[in-house]
Amino acid sequence: MSEITTPNRRTFLKGAGLALGAGPITGFPAIHAAEPVTLRYLGTAVNQSAEIARKVKEDLGITIEYIPVVTDEVTKRVVTQPNSFDLVDTEFFSLKKIIPSGNILGMDAKRIKLADKITSVFTKGEVAGKTIGDQGTAPKKVFYLEGQNGKTFANFPTEWITLIPTTYNADTLGIRPDLINRPIGSWKELLNPEFKGRASILNIPSIGIMDAAMVVEATGDYTYGDKGNMTKAEIDRTIKLLIEAKRAGQFRAFWQDFNESVNLMASGETVIQSMWSPAVTKVRSQGVPCIYQPLKEGYRAWASGFGLPKTLSGRKLDAAYDFVNWFLSGWAGAYLNRQGYYSAVLETAKAHMEPYEWAYWMEGKAAEKDIKGPDGSTLEKAGATRDGGSFEARMGSVACWNAVMDENTYMVRKWNEFIAA
């Protein structure tokens, strides 16, 4: 027992001494460096890989403690329990809820070394100089704050960034080519009676309704002013279409999490459904053919990024900036790119990837060798090409972004009506 208690007391005394000396006396860098920092990282499990935590521990000595929750829960935690984390990885669309709550801090662009290298998708809403769709909560609309503690978004570049991007991607429909046997080229196929009882949509209201809106526009019935910010009448129209389809038995099931979508597709319960990119990869890795089908109306995109809680200060704040800088420096970016996501600073990620990997994932070229996932498993055989092609082709045809609408409350109520119908 004594062996255990002694060092405990010693560390306690050291801690107390530090606390006492923290105010007036400064300049003990040796002790600072020796004290390990732990950052509580709040986010969805999708972005929280043990490999990244291991690597950052090795490179910076920072311990990452993951708090994995679902997308909506991240927002809820930031708004209701801002002291329960040191770093948050959240979707850009939730900023419309988070920023007015005043719980996160504008990030100082001067402290982010590669801030000006962040892809123009975020800063200007452009890919290779071409403007992409900005309906919904496009990141460029919420990227800058007017002041560090500001509650309003700036529509011009400032030195205060809301979130430093971690991952983003362009979502579309997943299909089972072996069970459909014909080319699929439009969002409207989701509600095609041909696939009655074999289609699915996700039961996350704010994302599901966007997919439905893509279908409505594809059928040519109606064109929205902004799919990501519908009027009440537009919500009614969209939900009405969904209810009709549901009553006609179009949907086999709705899904809410990653694994549900994988199971539905892999078991053949559904042959066409809204899907996320890594879910398609997972279905394929089970030996089941599945395509992340590019569609002529374009993609529904999403992006997430790091934010800092307002309560963060001192060494933890420094450590958080160090971690974010490390994240942008390439290793993590390459890691994410190999999973089919895109990283914020493409140049650094490229430097950490093999040329053949970069050609497959980012340039849409046929794989020269077998493509391996971050865990070493073979994802694709040599010769395969990525669904949707290159970064420019995929991100360049984004039509809209995941969003929080002004009429969000009404939309959720109507969505519940759809589920009850």
């Binding site: 809820k76 949907f251 086999r252 319960e269 969000n408 109520r413 969505w415 589920i419 009850a420």
Partner: protein, 313 residues
Amino acid sequence: MTEIVLPAPALAADKPQTSLNAGERRRRRRTYLQAAPMALVFLIFLAIPLLLTLMVSFWEYNEYEIVPAFTLQNYRDVFEGCLNGSDLCTTVRTYLSTLKFCALTWVCTLLIGFTVAYFLAFHVRSRTTQTVLFLICTIPFWTSNVIRMISWIPLLGRNGLVNDTLQSLGLIRSPIEGLLYSDFSVTLAFVHLYTVFMIVPIFNSMARIDRALIEASYDAGATGWQTLTNVVIPLCKPGIAIGSIFVVTLVMGDFVTVGVMGGQQIASVGKVIQVQMSYLQFPAAAANAMVLLGAVMLMILGLTRIIDLRREL
């Protein structure tokens, strides 16, 4: 603790003429004190949270905060469109769907639960066998109910075990779609999950029935069926009532089973509340929770009207 012991003798010594009265009072106070810990637990973990929920249900909210106020808007939203008459509103529809599952599950669990309990209580003679069989009934509870639920999916799916078997036997040509993600699969999962909650209290009631009563019934010339309906069932009423309360409240508040087995396509009150909570609409969720609480209370009130639990126990 000192409060219990100290003032009491002092009080008794001061007023000897009212000693009997004081003793009576002391005993009563002791009873209250004995009940106090439980009451405190109920107060802190049940009464106060409920009051808070009630309070919040009258508050206003926006995307990122809830604002103290007094508004009936949340309740108005719950019942939006219910007075139009032409088409059923979302809330009524949702409740009807939940009530349907309630009724179906109740009937199935009651029939199965009663039969199993009857077998255990009256047909198994040895105490040991009884205990062993009873424990076997609880084995499924060693795993999480989500796992028990999900294990049905590979069985019932379009290309699942049941469809495959039926097809290979040549009994059906194309798979039966309605096996999974349907009312059937939801009810099946509920019955599977909650039958034990019927078995336990009914078995408990049956075990207490004096065997002499059964013999007397037979001696008086009653048939087996008459004995069952006139002796066993009336004496099992408390068990049936308790089991029913378990099953009804569990089904009314469930949203996971309905979600997983219904393929998220079937509405449930719990799901509506969960969606609202995840969108930070706490006051709306609180209002829905209060309405649900009211509905379940009414059902239990109805049940206790039929069976006086207090007297029967």
